[in-house]
């Protein structure tokens, strides 16, 4: 969401919004318009809400929490780079998915049907995950 200042000396219309000379505008979009000066790039667009790499020894457990800010429209992607894991959704009592090296599990959630993912390494394992809003 870069911030721009109107240095054109004239009134500009940016995405339907009138920007008077000298006025600043925050937008999601990068613009290349004569007279519009980018003051800062921040805050940045980022569809990734959480990501990480987990390295687990045999028998070790870890939890991936869905950030509280996500109430709808997000995806969870778990990839096992090496080893073998049990993946349980929402509860340690859930029936596990067994994922081996090279396996990927993805869930697209239109509402917050997933709160936590519980991972247990069956053998030494390396996992990468991404949680994205869409």
């Amino acid at each position: 969401m870069p911030t721009y200042r109107n240095d054109s000396g004239e009134r500009l219309v940016i995405a339907g919004q009138t920007v008077e000379p000298g006025q600043k505008i925050e937008t999601n979009v990068y613009y290349y318009i004569e007279g519009l000066t980018k003051i800062t790039d921040e805050p940045y667009y980022n569809p990734v809400v959480s990501s990480g790499k987990l390295t687990l020894s045999e028998g070790a457990e870890d939890t991936i929490e869905i950030p509280e800010s996500l109430s709808e429209r997000f995806s969870v992607d778990v990839y096992v780079s090496s080893g073998e894991i049990e993946l349980r959704i929402n509860s340690t009592d859930s029936t596990p998915m067994i994922l081996s090296a090279g396996s990927r599990h993805s869930e697209k959630c239109m509402s917050r049907i997933i709160d936590k993912l519980y991972i247990k390494a069956i053998s030494d394992a390396e996992i990468r995950y991404n949680i994205l809003k869409f």
Binding site: Y30, D41, S81
Partner: protein, 135 residues
């Protein structure tokens, strides 16, 4: 966008556009010359091409700039090898997208909210294929 020359009488094509006799016409559409007597394709160019960029980037680091003027685009990512960590617009913008060997990832962007991608592979080995497609 082939170019046609109308050597016959003035004609109207499907979209209602009139092509006068002895005039050239550039269009995005490939026209059926059998359907329009006198119309002759004189060039296949300039051709429609949705691909803005395609190529691969090797470890350990890469910078992928989105060409200026491109507002609506799809990013197609394929990891041939290695584990690239991808940052949107700046490496300070966390969390990054963490991909892995064999991953295929598509991101559709309807406004220019991404200016550049920074790729930082987890190791010195790896190759990331990138296609930027105009949508």
């Amino acid at each position: 966008m082939p170019t046609y020359l109308n050597k016959g009488k003035s004609i109207s094509i499907n979209s209602g556009i009139k092509i006068p006799a002895d005039s050239e016409y550039e269009t995005l559409v490939w026209l059926d010359e059998d359907k329009y007597p006198g119309l002759r394709r004189i060039s296949d160019f300039p051709c429609f091409n949705p691909i803005v960029m395609s190529g691969f980037f090797d470890a350990p680091k890469a910078v992928i700039e989105i060409p200026k003027g491109l507002d609506r685009f799809a990013l197609h990512l394929y990891v041939e090898s290695g584990s690239p960590v991808i940052y949107f617009s700046t490496m300070e913008n966390k969390p990054p997208l963490r991909l892995y060997a064999g991953a295929k990832w598509n991101i559709r962007v309807y406004e220019r909210v991404i200016n550049v991608l920074f790729v930082d592979f987890e190791s010195h080995m790896g190759r990331l294929w990138v296609i930027i497609e105009r949508i």
